[in-house]
């Protein structure tokens, strides 16, 4: 964590990866000076955006106004309900069993093979409970680990680092809407039509880092919103589904 503060510039320029973003966001929670600096840097980058001013196509206005007329808004302190049209990867709504097929068609999840340098930097910042930290580092450093990221249509994103050789993975959930009271995000490992729970985020939390066990042989990772105690099987189409192979 020695130089996490130096990430402020890269963070505000969206030039960090998801693991670093999550680590820096956690750092911000406990650092008032950093939050102030970050707010100033955000205003500064907004000025960089000012200079890009360009007349949008007139069709954009019509399209946006038509879409907001049928788009419900989030209410303060309540979860974004994932109604029709707001669930899925990319713009598709996926049934769990069908997800693998559609993902193979390239439904918006980005994939990189983890690079050594990325791993070296990321692993010091991955955070999590102390006894898990070593295993998380091992996953991030595994030569066969792959990183997959998907945006949740309703906002936020999910990143999974998975290593088949270690049979473990790390999930970073970042910036999802806080679930409704008494509900929580549940993580799943999915193979065919079978989904195995891979743990719950704390109730009411829209983000967190979780160590995953038993990733080997699983085709997909998914996230759903469930009652705070967790469900035996998903009760909804995953908000995001990422291929693990």
């Amino acid at each position: 964590m020695t130089d996490i503060h130096a990430l402020a510039g890269a963070y505000v320029l969206d030039a960090v990866d998801d693991v670093e973003r999550a680590a820096f966001a956690r750092h911000l929670d406990g650092c008032e000076t950093c939050a102030l600096e970050l707010a100033e840097l955000r205003e500064t980058t907004a000025r960089l955006a000012d200079s890009t001013w360009s007349v949008p196509p007139p069709a954009l206005r019509e399209a946006v106004l038509a879409e907001i007329a049928r788009t419900p808004q989030e209410r303060p302190g309540r979860a974004a309900r994932s109604g029709p049209g707001h669930v899925g990867v990319g713009r598709r709504r996926l049934a769990v069993a069908a997800a693998a097929v559609l993902l193979a068609g390239g439904a918006g999840a980005a994939t990189w093979v983890t690079q050594e340098q990325r791993v070296r930097d990321a692993r010091t910042e991955a955070g999590a409970a102390r006894e898990e930290a070593g295993r998380i580092r091992a996953v991030l450093a595994a030569p066969d680990s792959v990183v997959r990221t998907g945006a949740v249509t309703a906002g936020g994103r999910v990143t999974v680092v998975a290593s088949a050789s270690r049979d473990e993975g790390v999930a970073v959930v970042d910036g999802l809407a806080a679930p409704a009271p008494g509900r929580a995000y549940q993580l799943w490992l999915i193979e065919g039509a079978t989904a195995t729970s891979a743990g719950l985020l704390p109730a009411g939390q829209g983000g967190g880092t979780k160590l995953l066990s038993g990733v080997r042989g699983k085709g997909l990772f998914g996230v759903t919103e469930e009652p705070a105690g967790g469900s035996a099987r998903p009760t909804m189409t995953p908000l995001v589904a990422l291929a693990l192979t």
Partner: protein, 209 residues
């Protein structure tokens, strides 16, 4: 340059849109509009659209270098503004910065997705990406703002300037920037931060109204 929008063909069209300004009264107006949007006020959203959409579209297009994708992503951004307006907290910054944070993040997400990456590579390879300032309204205020940003960017060291522009306008991660500039990772991180701090001072950025 291939492009889908043809606003440049129509002299005076830009008068239909608000010009960008960082004047305090416009900032207050944008903040107030976004708060009204959070209460479900569609008329306020239309006015907010007029104020921010040329910059949202311009920024997204600058990063994506593709008008068709830019239009799609700008639409996602503006609908997200509507949907999540209640998350805006004026104590943490301006409405403008809040909107552009969403816009930049979405644009960068698109750049880093596989399909867009391939498409973008193709475009860059085809040399179609070298016209960042086409078709832009010739509004005096726009030129002034652009000159000020340009002036302040010029006041940075070369590494600071390159690191910031490659990341912000090019959508590159700092690791990519380090490779492009053949500079060590910690140096790139530092130059991004100290360059932005210098820009902040040069542009006279202030948090409070």
């Amino acid at each position: 340059m291939t492009h889908g929008d043809s606003a440049g063909d129509v002299p005076g069209r830009s008068r239909l849109y608000a010009v960008p300004s960082t004047a305090p009264d416009q900032r207050a107006e944008t903040d107030d509009l976004l708060r009204a949007v959070a209460r479900g006020d569609e008329a306020a959203f239309e006015r907010l659209y007029g104020l921010v959409s040329p910059r949202v579209y311009g920024l997204v297009r600058r990063v994506l270098r593709d008008p068709a994708q830019a239009e799609e992503v700008a639409q996602e951004v503006l609908v997200e503004v509507w949907r999540t307006a209640a998350r805006f907290d004026p104590a943490k910054g301006s409405a403008t910065a809040w909107v552009f944070t969403i816009a930049h993040r979405r644009a960068v997400d698109r750049v880093r997705s596989e399909q867009a990456g391939a498409e973008r590579t193709r475009r860059v390879a085809a040399g179609s990406a070298e016209t960042p300032y086409d078709e832009v309204a010739e509004e005096a205020a726009v030129r002034l703002e652009r000159q000020q940003v340009r002036h302040c960017l010029d006041a940075l060291t070369e590494v600071q300037r390159e690191a910031i522009t490659l990341a912000y306008y090019g959508g590159h991660s700092y690791r990519e920037v380090a490779g492009l500039l053949d500079t060590a990772l910690p140096t790139v991180k530092s130059r991004m931060r100290d360059g932005l701090l210098r820009l902040r001072d040069c542009l006279g950025v202030e948090l409070s109204r």
